[in-house]
């Protein structure tokens, strides 16, 4: 008998011939958030800053300039545009001049770059979480992982209140990365250190 058949057989034996009915799952927790958008944006900013991410806010006309300011904040002024890689589908109007664009180069080459710029698929206000879904505006997973500074552009219509609303907007078949602040560890005497293997700096440009 194959291991598969045997394990499934053991489960069937364990559950017995007459199986207990499957209990109903009551979903009486919060699944929507009626707060006005402006309020959700404030909550998002508060939570992001609590995680030591920086947030720059701007209007829709001003995105490229604010991305430049975000890179100044993350890298210090004087960074070389060629050292910053943008996601292939990042809208042209959001891109500062001269940025490199990710292509199908071996992912490890991205480790030499100073920063990356991506869009997001969804942002969760209550937890301060950005979700990237691997579509061209967000880029492949290595892009938001290897450069030491990550700049994410979030638009107001992408912001939801809580986790349940966010999952409803996401495609479970895409590779998703949920990011809540820069990478961190508390493994040494529980003292929090920001920035271990992922980007040590996270700057968010919030467009509304």
């Amino acid at each position: 008998m194959s291991a598969r058949e045997e394990v499934l057989g053991r489960i069937r034996t364990a559950l017995g011939e007459t199986r207990a009915p499957v209990p109903e799952v009551v979903r009486d927790y919060r699944t929507t958030d009626d707060r006005p958008v402006a309020e959700l944006l404030d909550v998002l900013v508060d939570r992001l800053e609590d995680y030591k991410a920086s947030v720059l806010r701007c209007g829709p006309e001003d995105v490229a300039g604010t991305v430049t300011a975000a890179l100044d904040a993350g890298l210090g002024t004087g960074w070389a545009p060629g050292s910053v890689v943008a996601a292939p589908g990042l809208p042209a109007a959001w891109r500062p001049d001269g940025l490199d664009t990710d292509d199908d180069r071996p992912p490890v080459q991205l480790a030499e770059r100073a920063a990356s710029v991506t869009a997001v698929a969804v942002a969760i206000a209550e937890t301060g979480t950005l979700v990237l879904d691997g579509t061209p505006p967000c880029g492949r997973r290595a892009l938001s992982l290897l450069p030491d500074c990550l700049v994410c552009v979030v638009t107001a219509d992408q912001v939801v209140g809580g986790v349940p609303e966010s999952l409803g907007r996401l495609d479970p078949l895409r590779p998703l990365t949920m990011i809540s602040g820069p990478s961190a560890t508390s493994d040494i005497e529980l003292e929090r250190v920001e920035g271990v293997h992922g980007p040590r700096t996270l700057v968010v440009v919030l467009v509304s």
Binding site: A3, R4, E6, V7, L8, R10, I11, R12, T13, A14, L15, G16, R19, V22, P23, V25, V26, D28, Y29, R30, T31, R47, Y51, P107, V108, A111, I124, T127, G128, G134, R140, R141, A142, V163, P164, L167, G168, P172, L173, R174, P175, L176, T177, M178, I179, S180, P182, S183, A184, T185, D187, I188, E189, L190, V193, G195, V196, H197, G198, P199
Partner: protein, 509 residues
Amino acid sequence: MTTTPQDLRTDQTPLAPGAPRSGTTFLGLPTAPRGVGHLRGDRSFPDAARDALRDGQLRANLGHATQTIRGKRARVVAELPDWQQLRAAGSALKTATMARLDEHLEELERQVTARGGTVHWARDAGEANRIVTDLVRATGSDEVVKVKSMATQEIGLNEALEAAGITAHETDLAELIVQLGDDAPSHILVPAIHKNRAEIREIFLRTMPRVDADLTDEPRRLAMAARAHLRERFLRARVAISGANFAVAETGTLAVVESEGNGRMCLTLPETLITVMGIEKLVPTWRDLEVFLQLLPRSSTGERMNPYTSTWAGVTPGDGPQDFHLVLVDNGRTAVLADEVGRQALHCIRCSACLNVCPVYERTGGHAYGSVYPGPIGAVLSPQLTGVEDNASLPYASSLCGACYDVCPVAIDIPSILVHLRAEHVEAQERPTAESVAFRALARAMSHPRLWRLAQRAAGLGRLVARGRPTMPAALPFPASAWTRSRDLPTPPAESFTAQWVREHGGRS
């Protein structure tokens, strides 16, 4: 909510030794053998605990750690007005999953396969290790990078790989500290919590080839030394091994929840990814993650959300590993499933909240439990995975205070399972031990009010033994000594609560 003795009194009907455990029917199909791997200690819990109790540094580290995490957890849990509703939904979802576990696993297999992954099944630790070893060999690589995973610790994968000439690099900072220090993890979430910064610095200086000799013991400097040490390993790794926090049956989506980004490195950069997962880790639908992605981070690290959660379904062209294998491991889980009371232990999402509130864990630390699963969940899971006769002292490694049940995000009634396992152990004993005699007498006394009052009066005698000291002497005569050797019993009060009530309220009840 606290657990009262009434809550504990589920079905305690004793089983004859060797009788099938409750809920087991025999259909001529395979029944479940016990798990093997890192689930048993060399010594009994009381013996190991006695040494741990003498280690002042360990107790101080643990006390600080558990207290800090408890506080953080309490703050972020209080933030959610619907925590109890989420907890009830989490518990119901797990019960629903277990009730049709075979169907969900078959669906998961179909979905993962449809998206370009390969699913393997392992009856036990040995078979899982062989599958993984063969998969690594087939890539031609002699090293792998690993994300922290309880399942691979349980099956002893690193040792199996090493025996096959394959080096496994742990990449989680705490696991790295444990691996470099040739040590064992002591906590589910923060495995190196028993080491302080000076000890960690010493380990790094001794074992990291290119470490800066001026390394200080500042946590930031130590974390950066680990980053530098592992960076090059990530970039050259061709094979990664991970665990999984959740698997979604309906979509074939796997999820890994982490903080440092080492998980993302392993899940993204290598060409081959091998994920090892216990068969109980799945949820039926994508939507179900909306419950667990709220329960887990808040219960675990006390954060609103952990820094990184990665999900993937099979293989995505041009993004991440192009060869994906999922190894589903039984290793005793189906034996746990066969026990109607004990099967709740399979609902565990490994958040470690129960460790942090447990007064026994706080004093003994994780090593005393002898298994990769320490604390209250370990006290109920390890003996069930191995069979209670192999871990007979663990169901007694608890004071039944109920704190673990109160914090558990999926409401596992750990105290009831402990009592159930004790009864099972006592019944399995051929020769009565002091524990079995005492436990039988206690169970009888608690269920008969007249006997209970008598017992309380007898406890009054204990005051004479204690002679005014706050705790009873550690060396009570046999058979009580078996109980008091590693426990401080409070001296019984001069008057029991019942006696006081009767005196003040004139016998009304």
